[in-house]
């Protein structure tokens, strides 16, 4: 059931003949400098449109997404209200190390910070990095954090985001898709071309993990006792029992992009991706069983355990609460 490309119809067709000429106009895009005084626009449908990440800030859920949409929920994801933030760029990641302090990152080099649980946000970037694309953010506490993104982008802060220092965890300028922290303080970085890096010293030095896959990984989910779940393109799921030294492929027959994974309660693990396909593992030794909830027709970008036994899913269709069978 692999969706094979139809060879008679070349997929990548000619670019518009003007593409070359357009390159000459590149400078014009670069010349658009200075922080634009734009802010996100109120939209009744914000919580039902593309959302890309969701985090818990105490009892509040904060989700971010397209067009600078930031929505808050104080009822475990049942209802959402939008807050206006000083950007219209797509926000791709959000992280709250405690109930008050949070950061959100996204396209156009945007880094937003809040000190009141997401009610108001300020820009921490200078607005000039329009070509920078952040894809994820992680804060260990209100001072130490990382923002990662496209073309090997990796910046760290020690002062709650006032200053950001670029670092190079690997040699290649690959996309870093997700940064995660394990229960023992280890940090994991997943990205393009089978990139899987680990740091045991709080993000200073990074070492590659030997993952037997050279396609893109979208995340490494650290569990207890050195158990890791890595996931990525085309149904790839890889497991390790020993902190990433040895990996076993447990790929799904559904060759869809898996973008997110979370622990649900004590034992269950849920992965999710393209086309509303979810994969549920009900106990540590079990397999990931495909699950396609009828309520979810669209692709998944992030999964979150809101703490009440349900599952909060954000993605193409906005935010949705699901009961995992």
């Amino acid at each position: 059931m692999t969706p094979t490309p139809d060879p008679s119809r070349p997929s990548v067709r000619r670019l518009l003949p003007v593409a070359a000429a357009a390159c000459a106009l590149l400078w014009a895009a670069g010349a658009e400098s200075a922080a634009p005084a734009e802010s996100s626009e109120p939209a009744p449908l914000a919580a039902r449109s593309l959302l890309l990440d969701v985090a818990r800030a105490g009892d509040t859920l904060v989700a971010v997404g397209d067009r600078g949409h930031v929505v808050l929920s104080s009822d475990q994801g049942r209802t959402w209200t939008q807050v206006i933030v000083p950007t219209r760029a797509m926000l791709t990641g959000v992280c709250f190390p405690d109930a008050e302090h949070g950061w959100a990152v996204g396209h156009d080099g945007v880094i937003l910070a809040t000190e009141n649980g997401g009610r108001t946000w300020t820009r921490q970037d200078d607005g000039t990095g329009l070509d920078v694309v952040y894809l994820d953010v992680l804060f260990l506490d209100p001072r130490r954090g990382f923002a990662v993104g496209a073309y090997g982008r990796f910046v760290a802060t020690e002062d709650g985001g006032r200053t950001w220092t670029p670092r190079r965890p690997g040699e290649d300028e690959v996309h870093f898709n997700r940064i995660t922290a394990g229960p023992d303080g280890s940090l994991f970085l997943a990205g393009e071309s089978g990139t899987a890096l680990v740091s045991r010293d709080g993000g200073v030095r990074w070492a590659p993990l030997n993952v037997p896959y050279d396609g893109s990984l979208f995340g490494i989910l650290p569990l207890e006792n050195g158990h890791l779940v890595a996931y990525g393109l085309r149904g790839h799921i890889l497991l390790s029992d020993d902190n990433g030294r040895v990996w076993q492929p447990h790929n799904s027959d559904l060759r869809v992009l898996i973008m997110a994974g979370t622990r649900l309660g004590a034992d269950r693990v849920v992965l999710g991706g393209q086309g509303g396909n979810l994969f549920v593992r009900r106990d540590p030794g079990g397999e990931f069983a495909p699950w396609k909830p009828a309520a979810l027709g669209a692709s998944v970008a992030e999964l979150l355990d809101p703490g009440d036994g349900s599952l909060v899913v954000v993605g193409e269709g906005g935010a949705l609460r699901l009961e995992v069978p």
Partner: protein, 776 residues
Amino acid sequence: MITRLEEILFRRRHATVAVFLALTVGLGYFAARTHVDASFDKQLPTDHEYIRNFKKYQEQFGGANRVVIALVAREGDIFTAEFFRTLKAVTDETFYIPGVDRSQVTSLFTPNVRYIEVVEDGLAGGNVIPADFVPDAGGLERVRQNVIKSGRVGMLVSADFTGAAVIASLLEVDPQTGRRLDYAAVAAVLETRIREKHQSAAVSVHIIGFAKVIGDITAGARGVLLFFAVAIAISAVLLYYFSQSLVLTVLPLFTSFCAVVWQLGLLNLLGYGIDPLSILVPFLVFAIALSHATQMLRSFRYEYNAGGNELQAARESFRNLFVPGTVAIVTDTVGFLTIYLVKVPIIQELAVTASLGVTLIILTDRFFLPVLLSYTSMAPEFRKRVTFRRFAMQPTWRALQRLTTGPRSLVIIAVALGLWAFGLYTARQVRIGDMHAGVPELRQGSRYNQDTAAITAKFSIGADVLTVLAETVPNGVIDHEVMSLVDRFAWHMRNVEGVQSTLTLTDYARTINAGWNEGSLKWRILPRDPTVLAQAVSPVETSSGLLNQDGSVIPVMIYLKDHKAETIQRVVAAVKVFRERNPAPKVRFQLATGNVGVMAATNEVVDAAQFPMLVWVYGATIVLCLISFRSWRAAVCVVLPLMIVSDLAYALMVYLEIGLKTSTLPVVALGVGIGVDYGIYLCSGMLERLRAGESLEDAICMSFATMGTSVVFTGFALAIGVGTWAFSALKFQADMGVLLSFMFLFNMLGAMLLMPALASWLFRKQRASAPAPSAA
């Protein structure tokens, strides 16, 4: 002049009859060839800005004249071999519907529907249903995945995967033959070759679109003819009771019928057909003709009774009624002509056909009828019967005169003014456009409206789409500034209440860009780099209708939940607000194509024409009354009741939830045309006697006894006849029936009660006795 005319007509009355009969036979030949002539383009207000844009881009992006055929699985979802067989057959069949623009046919099976997906080494794409498709479990699952990737869920496939749609666009003029499209034929093909052939125990078929509406209305129009017959039959029976003579019943019906035959014949000669929405016009002509014929009949009877023979009575009637009759008919004609101010071809056509028809009444009922009457020979007891009834009625007229000119005239005036205030207040709530989902001309329970409801419920592309055209610079599609503004616009519109979904190039560009980035949702953006943006745009072909050849026009399709007037207004206003708040040198958001674009334009034209039309109708009526009566008081007596009744008609439209649109706007002008006859006849009868020196009371009583009898008769006869239309299967006819019935009745009441009450004050110097001062 009147005497000369009379001489011409009556001296050689055999010749007159021969000429008129010959004309009737000749025009009857052409009238028999009358054809139903429906047209989508005729409904377009050509001068309107939206329609100019519509015409400009019609060829490129398809018209608003769509047909949506939805197939719905009765059980389970669409992924069965049988469903796909049916879908394929319907798609193939759609290409052969007359008038179909074959390049625009869209379904899962057409090559313009493609999917794009990510593979490890880049981007791959293909037809949603591959060439080697086999409808087994594997093949169907593959199609399911492709459909999701194609981004057409909700458009070509319902969100719950229980239905699939075939969408086609019709060309009104066949590009090859240059022939006009026959909508009734299209509708018949849709029924026989699509619905009947492919509807099965497993698949239900739902069809919507202008062609289907016209088909259903035309089919319903056959029922309309039956109702016309019923209305005429009822009038005939009442006419017999009124005239007490078979020949006096047949002759007015015959000459009124002649007016319609002549009208249809002339229209056919002039190249006009009958539009299903204007099908009431011939009946209106008949009704107005009958009203004038009744006056003639009544006058003939009166003169005959006064002692003359048949010929003398006929000549006398011709002379007496010539002025008021002609004034009334000319006023009708002018009233109908004012509808021409609404710059929508179908309405202008109505103005021409209706005013032509009414003018012809001068010939048939003013000239032909009295000549015919002169041939009659009345039975001796006829005179007795009529005289007896006339005396029997005398006390009634006297009582009515006392009521209307006595102290209670103030009550009548007060009630009328109260009703007017109420009418004015309520009439302000009358809505422009449609007030319900579906098609208001058809009943809510009709198959068409059920199909509309089924399709709107399942698909996010209902029947109603407003397309805004973003005009930009060549290659604007790879300009980030342009594309992100268009994208923001689409999102702005998506958030407007009443919008079901939006579709534009940027949606595809964003998805494709994500595709270039392994399908990650985090890359569903419009890249700033023009080269990268070009990569995201170039896979979209111009045949998709999402951009034009040089990338300078980007249509934004806004699918609405319905086409209620307020929805359209809200959405159009939102477009204008966005346009104003976001001035961009490189992008102009132009309204509008799509069927809702057409409706928005029509609504605006109707709204703009509404007031000038009333001014012209009343202006013309007042001027004509002043000229013919040479008395401003008489003009007030005639026009004021008319104004009150037409305001009340608007109020009635509010209660019946009828919106003002191209098909209903003319009703008020028609109502004035109907009502003005009554007032003019009564008033002229009264004035004539006042000028002869009689007292006001006697003048009014006399006018009641002469003109009044036929006014009351016509008012009731036509109101009852037209009232039966309320039972018509066509909602449009039912609505018109109620409205016209109301106007026949209330204009009659206005003329019989309010007119004399007003006269009793305006002409109070001529009263026999001063009204009691304590009257108030």
